[in-house]
């Protein structure tokens, strides 16, 4: 079982490849807004719920659907 802190770090690492220096703030805001939790408390189950929200958010930032799909598939791989 991946620890919650490690999972959070992995999610930020994935987001960094897409959102660069803004990734940490983006992930923190997604967790706080949609899960109403502290970022370090995010679990694998939470991530599954969060992916859908993040997919919508990232789609608002880019017109390239391939980038959105890549982002979500990399996040999904973290839940396995």
């Amino acid at each position: 079982m991946v620890s919650t802190v490690m999972l959070y770090d992995e999610v930020v690492k994935v987001a960094d490849d897409f959102l660069g220096p803004a990734s940490g703030r983006f992930i923190d805001r997604q967790i706080r807004t949609h899960l109403h939790k502290a970022p370090s408390e995010m679990t694998t189950e939470d991530l599954l719920k969060l992916i859908d929200w993040m997919k919508v958010s990232v789609a608002l930032l880019t017109n390239d659907p391939e980038v959105v799909n890549k982002f979500t598939s990399r996040l999904i791989s973290l839940t396995r």
Partner: protein, 315 residues
């Protein structure tokens, strides 16, 4: 939760006030009949040209204030983050260029306004010289901030921005060539430092003072501007994040346009209107409109990039 930025629209209020001052000056400054004769155009025609030139000028000012406001808003959103100092320096750079640039135009118009009524003493030498300093200083300070901003961005990767010998040589050659052309044009033109017939001098200060306090600082500003472009482009290469990079590219592009066009405009302005007039009035007007349009595009692409980055902080 992103902090709301209060009072950012105060900048538009200030801008509108300045536009009113500028418009009042323009509408109340009678056309100099000698200038009309010099350009071979009617006094009414010259007045219309002056007024129509003010419109694109206002567009540039709005575009500049739009970019400044967007950047200010973004800096407030990312307060206390690692990127804040770099973006704050960029904001200061844009701020100096936009606000002092507007002030420079107002001083220049004030110069023409006071020149009309003056019989025994003309304000023109003072206001004209002040206007020239106000044109050089914003770019000198602004580009210094851009360079520091690019260095700070580079530091985000734990690296120090160092310029290669190849870059320093290429930039020096480029500036030396431009500088040579620029100096040749200034010193070969009769009316650069003295009144020739109806043509007023470009510089009311002596050649040595103009070279040391206006021309050399201009070259330094160019170097700083080019170095900052190199710094930003290297940061974009090193930065992570496909989406972030594509957004930052807009900012980078805006700065590239701003630096190169300001170099060109600064050159044109310092050469003096009489020398440029040899091109012919309508060609000059076309040139001015094109330049103004591209500068507005530079500010807008900067603002687009910043607004896109702001979106990351709000979705």
């Amino acid at each position: 939760m992103p902090a709301k930025t209060k009072g950012w629209n105060i900048y538009y209020t200030i801008l509108v006030l300045w536009i009113l001052v500028y418009s009042t000056l323009i509408l109340n400054t009678p056309v100099n009949p000698q200038s009309a004769a010099l350009y071979n155009i009617s006094e009414q025609g010259l007045f219309i040209i002056r007024v129509t030139l003010a419109i694109p000028m206002f567009i540039i000012w709005f575009a500049g204030v739009f970019a400044f406001s967007a950047l200010k808003r973004y800096v407030n959103l990312i307060r206390d983050t690692k990127e804040e100092p770099a973006f704050r320096d960029m904001l200061k750079g844009v701020g100096f260029i936009v606000w002092l640039g507007i002030l420079s135009s107002i001083i220049s118009t004030t110069s023409s306004y006071f020149a009309q009524g003056a019989s025994d003493f003309s304000w023109r030498p003072i206001t004209s010289t002040l206007s020239q300093y106000f044109f050089v200083i914003p770019y000198l300070i602004g580009f210094s901030y851009f360079l520091r901003s690019s260095m700070r961005f580079f530091n985000l990767h734990g690296k120090t921005l160092k310029f290669t010998k190849k870059f320093i040589i290429a930039a020096s050659v480029f500036i030396s060539l431009l500088g040579y052309i620029f100096l040749t044009l200034i010193f070969s033109h009769e009316a650069s430092f003295q009144q020739v017939g109806d043509i007023r001098p470009t510089y009311y200060i002596g050649p040595a003072a103009a070279t040391l306090t206006l021309i050399v600082p201009t070259f330094i500003a160019w170097f700083l501007g080019i170095a900052s472009i190199q710094g930003f482009s290297r940061y974009v290469k090193e930065a992570t994040g496909i989406i972030y990079k594509s957004m930052f590219n807009w900012i980078s592009l805006g700065i590239v346009f701003l630096v190169f066009l300001s170099i060109f405009l600064e050159g044109l302005r310092s050469i003096g209107s009489a020398a440029i007039l040899q091109l012919g009035l309508w060609q000059i007007l076309a040139l001015i409109y094109i330049l103004i349009f591209i500068i507005a595009v530079a500010y807008i692409s900067l603002a687009i990039g910043v607004r896109k980055l702001t979106k990351i902080e709000s979705v």
